[in-house]
């Protein structure tokens, strides 16, 4: 007689494989999609479609010629077949979007899709006190709460509209934090970005609600290149959330976004991401290539916190960073990255200390399962002028099963004698003794794993706004457990 209750890594592996991506539906909405391929004409056509001013078109064309001379980076700890950039459509829009829409005019199919995504716009509006922008494929389809925000002088709108309505702000700041020349994907994004969010918080204003953007890739064979620009003027405060999903497809879809944050003197920005792009199936087919450049500039006494929960994408290449330019500025990075099956993530941050008394904190939690590879890559650079700069980094990895990998690549460059830099790293495995202990208390293995993972991730989950923390917690459970038979 053998005891059927013995829990092995084989069981764990099976459980993890049988999970399915809950957001993998495709909504059949008539859409207006450009032919595949990329050249100057396509760039011009995107600009024209958006009815952009000449300076914007020129800016894009310049980015395009920079991109043409660049090569795709291959230093990250990820392996994939490089995308064919001529086999992607660079613009796709649901047909029924009218630029002058209000929420009541939004296409019924689109609304049904939001419902599937678990977003009821009405509810969001009323209950969560979240102003929300939704970007499907390449265009922004609804921005809620515009009026309430306008009363405070807060601008929150699709970047395509901001280019029309606030060209002075867009021109002043766009590309200053992530220049066109920054990297291959940033250059590509600068040439072809189609939509994204723009946000400006005026001096001394505390944004009364969470601002939120929801990104969705719907159409096949398309890429998504959104661009987000967020400016917190002196002494202002804003908390911003973004969420992402995509249909399950057996092809790889490219997502190359750029996010630029500017925190002027005494301003504070909290930027939270729950990224759940389609990760590919259990055999590693399909999934989103998520190549994203996110960077923040902190002026004197400013503070920027990046919080990310990354459970999706086949390949993730993403390093939300802070340039701590002003004295006493603070940068924070809190991250949970979950990889399962054949997912590969190379993610981390850069903290560049330029000003005096600048402080940064990095808390990175990597959870690897299946045959996935999860890498933390982080740079802490302290320049000579950055007296008394301080950094604390903590990188913890949790392994599930024995076919996955966790890697840590910390880079520390210090030119200041008075700097204090600390780095801690741990790697652990969910032990059978932990699982048995939970089982003995009446908690089954699936629930036990969720409990242990949540405990492991808690320091980061705690940084998320309440309503997002609950969602993120659920997402972690879905990503790691699946349906156990």
């Amino acid at each position: 007689m053998t005891n059927k209750t013995k829990y092995t890594e084989e069981h764990l592996k099976k459980e993890l494989e049988t999970q399915e991506y809950a957001y993998g539906f495709y909504t059949d909405i008539a859409s207006d999609t450009f032919p595949k391929g990329l050249n100057k004409d396509i760039v011009r056509a995107i600009s024209k479609k958006k009815n952009e001013p000449k300076w914007m078109t020129e800016w894009r064309l310049e980015a395009f010629s920079i991109w043409q001379k660049m090569e795709e980076p291959n230093w990250a700890n990820v392996n994939y077949k490089k995308p064919d950039f001529q086999d992607i459509a660079y613009y796709s829009a649901p047909k029924s979007v009218d630029p002058n829409k209000t929420l009541d005019d939004v296409d019924a199919d689109l609304l049904a899709m939001y419902k599937k995504l678990g977003i009821s716009i009405d509810e969001q509006k009323k209950m969560n006190n979240i102003a929300m922008d939704i970007v499907v494929d390449s265009v922004s389809v609804a921005t809620t709460f515009k009026k309430t925000l306008a009363e405070k002088g807060i601008i929150f709108m699709p970047i395509s509209e901001a280019i029309q309505e606030h060209p002075e702000l867009v021109r002043k700041y766009m590309g200053t934090i992530v220049p066109k020349t920054d990297n291959f994907y940033a250059a590509l994004n600068s040439a072809v970005f189609t939509d994204g969010s723009f946000c400006y918080i005026p001096k001394g204003v505390r944004c009364p609600m969470e601002l939120s953007t929801y990104f969705r890739i719907n159409e096949g064979g398309t890429g998504q290149f959104e661009r987000t620009l967020l400016i917190a003027d002196k002494g202002s405060y804003v908390s911003y959330l973004e969420g992402c999903t995509a249909p399950a497809r057996d092809e790889n879809q490219l997502h190359a976004a750029v996010v630029e944050l500017i925190a002027l003197d005494d301003a504070e920005i909290k930027y939270s991401t729950v990224q759940n792009w389609f990760p590919g199936d259990k055999d590693g087919n399909g999934g989103v290539f998520n190549f994203v450049t996110k960077r923040a500039l902190c002026e004197t006494n400013a503070k920027v916190s990046w919080t990310q929960v990354e459970t999706g994408s086949a390949i993730t290449w993403k390093y939300p960073s802070c340039i701590l330019k002003g004295d006493n500025s603070v940068g924070e990075f809190y991250s949970i990255a979950v990889t399962n099956n054949y997912q590969q993530a190379d993610t981390g941050t850069k903290m560049i200390h330029l000003g005096k008394n600048t402080r940064s904190t990095i808390i990175s939690k990597g959870i690897s399962a299946g045959k996935s590879q999860n890498s933390y890559r982080g740079l802490v650079r302290v320049n000579a002028r950055a007296e008394n700069a301080r950094n604390f980094s903590q990188c913890d990895s949790l392994l599930m099963g024995n076919k996955c990998g966790a890697h840590t690549f910390p880079y520390i460059e210090n030119k200041s004698k008075s700097a204090q830099i600390e780095h801690e790293a741990t790697t652990s495995k969910i032990g059978e003794d932990q699982l048995f202990y939970c089982n003995q208390r009446g908690i089954d293995t699936e629930k036990a794993i969720a409990l242990i993972v949540n405990g492991f991730s808690k320091e980061v989950l705690n940084k998320l706004p309440m309503e997002f923390a609950v969602e993120a917690q659920k997402l972690l459970e879905i990503s790691l457990e699946g349906s156990v038979g």
Binding site: N3, K6, F436, C438, Q440, G442, D444
Partner: protein, 245 residues
């Protein structure tokens, strides 16, 4: 309540339990004593359903139902509790959160709704008071950085919260000084009633000064070689185990 019949169990084909027979009735306290390697901890692990051990023969029956086909969590739902000799740490999960999950999972298995938050809180407060536990202690991560005594008190706290039919205390006295031992034993005594039963597994007699057993069994080489009343424990303390072998 619990009926162990001719129980044989092995690990990696090595037989450790070689035919255990034991009957425990409601309201009784049984003590299993024995030298190191006699199979004491294996017995508790097998009752709790630890998959490391293979049951090769015999049965463990709770209230007329064999436990062997049930997973450890199902056995817990049926009222089996084991206080671990080495309780594990779960970083980031508070004792409160852990016990709340354990109680609600057990309730779910019994077809009951979650215990409402205010009632849960009431129960936690009352139990902490009963066992003289500082509630701050309950918001720390489970067993992380706890002293030996704190870990064992935490086990008794969980036992009190879960109200099991049968509580197995596996070497609960190991690593405790006399003060901690008294506190833990007092806790157990407060929880004892006519409907539940306690199985104390221990190497030394000293715990039995505080938790008075109705029956004492000596385990040697995977078999119970002698049973008696509480006086047997003193005899063992005096003479050691060798005279029985």
């Amino acid at each position: 309540m619990l009926h162990i019949k001719n129980l044989h169990a092995s690990v990696n084909d090595k037989e450790i339990l070689r035919g255990i027979n034991l009957e425990i009735k409601p309201g009784e306290v049984h003590a299993i004593m024995g030298p190191n390697g006699s199979g004491k901890s294996t017995l508790s692990a097998v009752i709790a359903g630890n998959g490391t051990y293979d049951v090769t023969q015999g049965d463990v029956v709770l209230d007329g139902e064999s436990l062997l086909d049930f997973a450890p969590e199902e056995r817990a739902h049926k009222g089996i509790f084991m206080s671990f000799q080495y309780p594990v740490e779960i970083p980031g999960v508070t004792t409160t959160n852990f016990i709340r999950t354990a109680i609600n999972e057990t309730r779910k298995a019994r077809g009951l709704a979650d215990l409402p938050a205010n009632e849960m809180l009431k129960k936690i407060r009352a139990t902490a008071e009963l066992l003289d536990i500082d509630r701050k202690f309950l918001s720390r991560s489970l067993n992380e950085g706890f002293s030996g005594g704190e870990k064992k008190r935490n086990e008794i706290f969980q036992m009190a919260m879960l109200e099991p039919k049968l509580a197995i205390l596996d070497e609960t006295d190991s690593g405790l000084d006399i003060d901690a031992l008294k506190i833990v034993a007092n806790g157990v005594n407060k929880l004892k009633n006519k409907d539940n039963a306690i199985l104390v597994i221990t190497h030394y007699q000293r715990l039995l000064d505080y938790i008075i057993p109705d029956f004492v069994h000596v385990l040697h080489n995977g078999k119970i070689i002698k049973s008696g009343g509480k006086e047997l424990a003193y005899e063992l303390e005096e003479k050691g185990y060798d005279w029985l072998k």
